[in-house]
């Protein structure tokens, strides 16, 4: 699987210089825009604010020559869809554009774009190369300042057009929000088919927008809770292969699978350390589940908790120095934070209800969790010191949050009621105001985000 997308060095250097110059010039213009356009201000300053007003943006359908005409239109559509789903942008319907049929060389008539209320404009062209590759160029414009913010060019094979679109979306997102994007990523999840009392579960992977679903296991064995390595194309998950539930490691590129360790009992709830070199998980012995760490290189295991309780769902802080987990050692499921060596566990959740499936944000500032209270299942976030709890979504059954690599969006699954109900994958951003369904071929659960692809 090769996703190589080559930046043309000469052209990009030129464009980068142009971009830097434009940047400097535009910085002032943007500062003005910050004052007169609150959408800029909110996006640039504080993404944790509730109810961010999405920025109107125009994505002019990309121009394509010959064979690439359809691809060009599809790429600009995917860019628009990415930006829209983020909740931070409001793409303007192309039929409302006054200036039509633009390509990457067309100079925008900024007045026309201001008239339709657009603050930013994206133009682009896709061209076929003699060697079968496509050349993609795009520009991002600040409509108010009348300046170019980005100009980039890529070469890739035509099959990679979706990745190309996501890379363009990431560039736009990063330039306008000041944060890294998350569109050129994938989500590993559990595909579910068949009746509720005889579900077939398969490990599967898709692009973050639900495209390109691939199945990684056949469904012969029950598989649960896949987690992406933060640094490689590896997944750790739980499988019931041979009627012996254990934690496995799976390499997406080679298809190789191996059981992790030789434990005297069921292992479950695995997750990678931030450097991808270790896996932390629960080991069940009798009535108790305790936390263990396995070093993937030395294969040595270290016991991290020792209580007559269920300690599970461990997740490292991004600096690797602490671990959050759930435990019923106090009588009901609550969240605890301890040092990475297992010392000094402190309870951090004290609200009414049970707290579980904690997962530390890649930014380090928040821990997402599932909370169950009075039969309602919620996804929320809390600071590592236990303060600032906020519920992002609530309903019959929401479970298992996982962070986007930029820590801005959570994916989770929502189950629906009854015999014919089943789970689907959703996303919600930190405002809690932008819930989006990820369309999958069948029921889907346990989503986990990849890092940004290289």
């Amino acid at each position: 699987m090769s996703f190589a997308i080559r930046l043309n060095p000469m052209q990009t250097t030129g464009m980068k210089q142009m971009w830097r110059r434009a940047c400097r010039v535009v910085a002032g213009a943007l500062a003005v825009a910050v004052i007169s356009q609150p959408a800029f201000a909110l996006i640039e300053l504080d993404i944790t604010q509730g109810n961010v007003e999405p920025m109107p943006i125009a994505i002019s359908p990309f121009a394509g020559s010959g064979l690439q005409e359809d691809v060009a239109g599809q790429i600009s559509s995917v860019v628009a869809a990415d930006l829209q789903r983020s909740g931070l942008f409001k793409p303007i319907d192309p039929t409302a554009h006054i200036q039509q049929k633009m390509n990457v060389s067309t100079m925008p008539r900024f007045g026309d774009w201001r008239t339709i209320g657009s603050q930013a404009l994206v133009t682009g062209s896709i061209a076929q190369q003699a060697n079968g590759q496509i050349r993609a160029e795009f520009r991002l414009w600040d409509v108010f300042a009348g300046q170019q913010l980005i100009g980039q060019q890529f070469f890739t094979t035509p099959e990679n057009w979706r990745r190309l679109a996501h890379i363009i979306s990431d560039a736009i997102y990063q330039r306008l929000t000041g944060e890294k994007g998350y569109f050129d990523t994938r989500v590993v999840f559990i595909d579910e088919s068949g009746p509720k009392d005889a579900r077939r579960k398969r490990l599967a992977i898709m692009d973050q927008d639900g495209a390109n679903v691939r199945y990684l296991t056949r469904g012969d064995d029950l598989v649960l809770t896949p987690r992406f390595s933060p640094v490689s194309q590896e997944v750790t998950y739980m499988s019931y292969v041979g009627g012996n539930p254990q934690v496995y490691l799976f390499n997406i590129e080679t298809g190789q699978r191996e059981v992790l360790g030789n434990f005297p009992g069921m292992t479950f709830a695995p997750r990678f350390s931030p450097d991808g070199q270790k896996v932390i998980m629960s080991l069940q012995q009798g009535s108790n589940a305790n936390l263990y760490l396995m070093d993937l290189r030395t294969r040595r295991t270290t016991r991290l908790s020792n209580t007559a309780a269920i300690d599970t769902s461990p997740s490292f802080s991004p600096d690797g120095r602490q671990i959050v987990f759930e435990s019923d050692r106090g009588g009901s499921q609550q969240l605890y934070v301890m040092n990475a060596n297992g010392s000094d566990a402190k309870r951090i959740s004290f609200g009414p209800g049970q707290y579980s499936t904690p997962v530390w944000s890649p930014r380090g500032d928040l821990i997402a969790f599932t909370k169950v209270h009075q039969g309602r299942f919620m996804i929320g976030v809390i600071r590592p010191d236990g303060k600032g709890e906020r519920i992002l979504t609530e309903g019959y059954h929401n479970e298992g949050p996982a962070w986007s690599p930029n820590g801005r969006v959570l994916t989770f699954f929502r189950d629906t009621v009854g015999e014919h109900g089943g789970p689907q994958v959703w996303t919600v951003d930190l405002t809690g105001y932008n819930e989006q369904l990820v369309t999958t071929p069948s029921f889907a659960s346990d989503p986990a985000w990849s890092p940004l692809l290289d």
Binding site: F268, S282, I310, E326, T357
Partner: protein, 159 residues
């Protein structure tokens, strides 16, 4: 003559057989009055006449009186039919989170295992596995279904 003899013999044997079965029952499973159409000592016998499962309260793994009564019968039956080994499957209902339910199912299976061992079943015959909330038997969206799913099932294997 021989026909009569045979018929009489058969009748006698049948009566004797019934007596033997009744005697066996009287000795080893006095309280099992169950369905006589199943073969004693079969897997069906265990499921129908003994009961292969016990149920738990929400988020609990303690065995109530009804559960202990079933397990007492299981222990007796397993003591009598010593060729079986057993896998105890622990399950949870769907109204909990996945990882915790895996551990909760294991805790329920462990509770059953400990009880059977305490009642004299050899621990070497007993394995446990947890399916968490992954294998519901009742799929309706009501407390009546969830309570059926919070269970530990004693599954016979390898006679």
């Amino acid at each position: 003559m021989s026909k009569t003899l045979f018929a009489r013999g058969a009748r006698f044997a049948a009566v004797l057989g019934l007596c033997l079965i009744a005697a066996a029952c009287a000795q080893t499973r006095p309280e099992l009055t169950g369905n006589s159409s199943v073969v004693a000592g079969s897997g069906q016998d265990f499921v129908v006449n003994v009961g292969d499962r016990v149920f738990f309260l929400n988020n609990q793994s303690s065995l109530n009186g009804a559960a202990r009564a079933v397990l007492d019968k299981q222990a007796q039956w397993l003591q009598h039919y010593k060729n079986y080994s057993v896998t105890i499957e622990g399950h949870a209902d769907e109204r909990g989170t996945r990882q915790y339910n895996i551990a909760l199912g294991a805790r329920r299976a462990a509770a059953v295992r400990e009880y059977l061992v305490a009642k004299g079943v050899s621990p070497t015959r007993l394995k446990t596995i947890s399916y968490g909330k992954e294998r519901p038997v009742a799929v309706c969206n009501a407390a009546s279904c969830w309570s059926q799913n919070r269970r530990a099932v004693t599954v016979l294997s390898g006679q």
